[in-house]
Amino acid sequence: MAKTIAEINEKIKAGQAVVFNAEEIIEVAREWGTSRAAKEVDVVTTGTFGIMCSSGAYFNIGHSQPRLKLGGGRAYLNDVPAYTGLAAVDLFLGANALPDDDPRNRVYPGEFNYGGGHVIEELAAGKDVKLVATAYGTDCYPRKRLETWINIKDLNQAVLFNVRNAYQNYNVAVNQSDKTIYTYMGILKPKLGNANYSSAGQLSPLFNDPYYRTTGIGTRIFLGGGTGFVAWQGTQFNPSVPRTEKGVPKEGAGTLAVIGDLKQMSSKWLVGTSVQGYGCSLTVGVGVPIPILNEEILQYTTVTDADILAPVVDYADAFPNLKPEILGEVSYAELKSGKIKIKGRDVPTASRSSYPKALEIANTLKDWIKSGRFLLTEAVEPLPGAGSGVAQRPLKERPIEY
């Protein structure tokens, strides 16, 4: 018997919804059988807490007296440049932005101690942030310079808007060269010295909804400790990749663009991050609820780490040179055992994404739903499906003739 989201919401409001996290549901479905589980379980909650580089936030800081037009000028938040291509007092800050005087990789590998992600963390924590701006001055916006402390509570809007989060699957990064490399997947020791992966596996949102049956535009989610929404398909959305029999994509695939009011989020779930030799970023907590509308949807949520395969990619050659070759496929169960076999060798593994925090997110979302404070939404539009023809394409470079 199929359920509707409206029916599930009635149960949530009555405090009677049956909710499990994506780890618990594996055992529940095994014990009860999928048919009974699909009938009795209303929602499965997921979570992920990892470094999500394509994150950022926009702000409306309010008009100064006299007025100043940031648009076309320059603006810095704690010395980190913010984007000023918007109107008079709107700013966008990307998680990867770096202070102009950061040495970057001039002293290799760079430490990247403070950037846009750290500013977002400090704003979410309620700390004062220093805004310094210069403008060219107009008749209606005459002021040319502004230096002031700002605080999130005084901003008209502070909105987290991440254009690509919650990657459905991710590469396992290794290094086949004979020197240590510093990548966004962490430090990779020479000659297959280690292997780094980055996914919450069986807890991760899109592994539990591999064909985007319930997750779509408008889906209310856990975002950065508060609530947010799926705004759009994430950039590089790539649903047409090879999948296992159970529908689990064997590489990158789906992503989510997410949005939410930064004022109700927390620095516990938005953590400024430094990636040695690579840059600054933001570690983001995302949790997506999956309404169990029918048995098929339930079955997808029972995915286990052993069912999920990830490609092993050489970040010394194949990745930087955009070569498609992979060194093999390994399951998240193998990755979590602490070592994997590549070319007959035991290679120690490490995660870049926090499983305990992902579990805490899934459990928080579960508590919110059980206590009636979080209702599910119907997607207003689905994300492009596996058969949509949507695909991620490389850049086609065309030489410019002078």
């Binding site: 101690n113 430090i187 991050t273 570690t283 602490g338 490490a350 926090s354 499983y355």
Partner: protein
């Protein structure tokens, strides 16, 4: 009883040019392994040592160092984890040469065993939220 301890020695400027560690071997029969050593621009010395030997001799050796004017700290106080910043991602696990970090198989939490730490400092910049701190 044989003991193995990791300690941090701070040498004031006046001691930097005197042979001190060799006395631990000659007079107290202690084995040492230098994990890290440096001299600051102010000419103060810092050395991270692993000392191994008989408990009685170890105590006497430490007393000799203290009398000579060397300040001693236990290594475990020197490299610490800021528990509020640690996200338990696990990025440190394969970075640490002596394997002082491990992931609990059940909870997936990262456990830091500072007794194994050699204060090499590799985890400091490698930790994405910068949760590892060194206090020399």
């Amino acid at each position: 009883m044989v003991v193995t301890k990791r300690i941090v020695l701070h040498f004031p400027g006046r001691l930097v040019e005197r042979p001190i560690i060799s006395r631990l071997v000659k007079d107290y029969d202690l084995e040492f392994n230098i994990l890290r050593a440096s001299i600051t621009p102010e000419q103060e010395g810092l050395m991270v040592l692993e000392l191994k030997g008989n408990q009685g001799e170890y105590d006497k050796g430490v007393e000799f160092l203290l009398k000579a004017g060397v300040k001693i700290q236990s290594l475990s106080q020197d490299v610490t984890r800021n528990e509020e910043r640690c996200t338990h991602c696990g990025a440190c696990v394969t970075v640490c040469p002596p394997g002082a970090f491990r992931v609990d198989a059940k909870t997936r939490m990262v456990i830091f065993d500072n007794k194994k730490c050699i204060a090499c400092g590799l985890c400091i910049p490698a930790c994405p939220p910068h949760a590892m701190e060194v206090h020399f």
